[in-house]
């Protein structure tokens, strides 16, 4: 369940094609990571998946259901959560209002018990957010904002979570904390996770499969263990 299938062709900007072709599948409880250096086309690919970057052809399916015609806001309503890069938050709203607003945008009449369950879950994952709940989101550190961004996505009980470089700009200690939480989400929520990363070590800690991009082209797609065990691949594509 929660099998997410994507096929893209001709993703880019204006007349410029960045990612000529890409297809991937992620199942519930699985993490697929898009690896590649700066400018490889990770962000372009993820945005093409959610439909905010133009494509020539695009097919998005969840458990076989064709979601391709839906726009980005409708995908969120179908429990496909996108967490853009840069740990973005509603800066002028308090932490608690970021979470409540995201919840109520989808479920205006959510029951108190349900609400409590969802809040407990994110506060359990990220206790610091509970501490800071009355603080303006914009006044928090990058790491805390990334935690809030992930929590906001969790409020819609995603079946698919798409994250763009959740480790970017975070201190190593916080990267560890965020990825530990992502690992717990993967284990407990049954949602399919598709994520772009440059931090190979962090990504490897939770990924099941990977797709390596270089200059917009898919160099390799496969099990993370295949890459981990193949020194030639590691050196060629990951610089490890």
């Amino acid at each position: 369940m929660n099998r997410f299938d994507v096929a893209l062709a001709g993703a880019g900007y204006g007349a410029l094609t960045i990612v000529p072709e890409l297809s991937l599948s992620v199942s519930g409880g699985e993490v697929m990571v898009l690896l590649g250096s700066n400018g490889a086309g990770k962000t372009t690919s993820l945005r093409a998946v959610v439909g905010t970057v133009r494509t020539r052809n695009r097919s998005v399916r969840l458990d076989g259901e064709d979601l391709s015609p839906l726009s980005a806001w409708q995908l969120a309503r179908r429990a496909i959560a996108f967490v853009p890069d840069g740990a973005r938050c509603f800066a002028n709203a308090r932490v608690i209002d970021n979470l409540t607003g995201a919840l109520e945008a989808l479920k205006p009449k959510v029951m108190p018990a349900e609400r409590k369950r969802l809040f407990d879950r994110v506060f359990d994952l990220f206790p610091i957010l509970h501490e800071r709940r009355r603080q303006l989101a914009g006044s928090m550190s990058g790491g805390q904002r990334q935690m809030l961004a992930i929590s906001r996505a969790l409020m819609i009980e995603p079946r698919v979570m798409i994250l763009d470089e959740p480790s970017a700009g975070l201190a190593p200690k916080l990267v560890e904390e965020v990825f530990e939480a992502l690992g717990r989400i993967k284990a407990a929520s049954g949602c399919a996770i598709l994520m772009a990363e440059q931090n190979v070590a962090a990504a490897m800690s939770i990924a099941d499969r990977c797709l390596i991009l270089s200059e917009g082209r898919v160099m390799l797609q496969g099990d993370i263990d295949d890459v981990r065990n193949d020194e030639r691949l590691r050196v060629a594509y990951l610089g490890l």
Binding site: P84, F90, A93, A105, L106, L136, A137, R152, I156
Partner: protein, 293 residues
């Protein structure tokens, strides 16, 4: 300059502040959420004023009802403007929206001149409320209506923004429209909603204009410039700021025209002067907190 005359000028100014606040609060909401600099907001007010005026003068409809009808009609009209006009302009190039709303403003003024002539009219409505007597000071009933309705409009906008689900969505869209979209919010509809709310406020405010000012095709131009001065004072998107900005501007104008010789003709200039002062000294408005981004 006696105490009574100062008190009189202050009280009258504060009632005018109700009108300014209603216009500016709607404008600051729309601009704050959509970032569309809507020059035609003044013409929405002007159309509401004509509507209330004609309803009363030709059909005997009470201005109380007239301003409600104006609010509804102008609200619908602004939905139409957003949908068939602005949404399309925004889609192609958001920089064109400035020209688009300016063009719309000029178009509406000219249509009004053709239809109704440029001559100023007076509604000559009866006083809707009894006058307020405070010591030696009298505030006419219709000025009380303007202050009261303006204040209510302001409170309603504030309530919608702070305490409703749609208010939260408008604030989210204002903070980061793309992120709001990824939260499942139909940002285009939310933009339209904020535009319509601004339109309703403008329509009702038009009814207030008909009560205390001359009704003529360029009345909105005067008012929208003041509204821009006010929202600059109060900080973009800051609705309480708009109330305080309205009071400051109305007092500055009222006191100048009462106590400075020939001061009546400065009204407009005061707005510009305030605008310039604020822009130079407090570029984020009096209460503008530095926006986090």
């Amino acid at each position: 300059m006696t105490l009574a005359s100062v008190a009189q000028a202050v009280l009258l100014s504060l009632t005018v502040a109700g009108l300014y606040a209603a216009i500016a609060a709607g404008l600051t909401l729309t601009v704050g959420v959509t970032r569309i600099i809507n020059f035609a907001h003044g013409e929405f007010v002007m159309l509401g004023a004509f509507l209330t005026y004609f309803l009363f003068n030709q059909h005997g409809v009470s201005p109380w009802i007239g301003m409600v009808v104006s609010g509804v009609v102008i609200g619908l009209f602004s939905a139409l403007v957003y949908r068939v006009f602005l949404a399309r302009v925004l889609k192609h190039d958001e920089h064109n929206q400035l020209l688009a709303t300016l063009g719309l403003s000029i178009l509406l003024v000219n249509i009004a001149i053709i239809l109704w002539s440029p001559d100023p009219r007076v509604m000559q409505a009866p006083q809707l409320l009894p006058a307020l007597q405070l010591g030696g000071v009298t505030v006419p009933g219709n000025n009380l209506v303007v202050a009261g309705v303006g204040g209510l409009l302001f409170l309603a906008l504030q309530y919608i923004m702070r305490h409703t689900r749609y208010g939260t969505q408008m604030r989210f869209a204002s903070d980061d429209a793309e992120l709001a979209m990824h939260c499942g919010i139909n940002v285009d509809r939310i933009f339209e909603l904020s535009f319509v709310i601004g339109g309703v406020a403008a329509g009702v405010a038009g009814g207030l204009v008909a009560l205390i000012l001359y009704v003529h095709p360029v009345v909105g131009l005067d008012l929208v410039i003041r509204a821009f001065a006010i929202i600059t004072l109060g900080g973009l998107g800051n609705i309480p700021g708009a109330l305080i900005g309205a009071a400051i501007l109305a007092l500055a104008e009222g006191l100048t025209s009462t106590f400075v010789p020939h001061g009546g003709s400065f009204g407009y200039g005061i707005a510009f002067l305030l605008l310039l002062l604020v822009l130079v000294i407090w570029p984020n408005g009096l209460f503008g907190k530095q926006a986090h981004s």
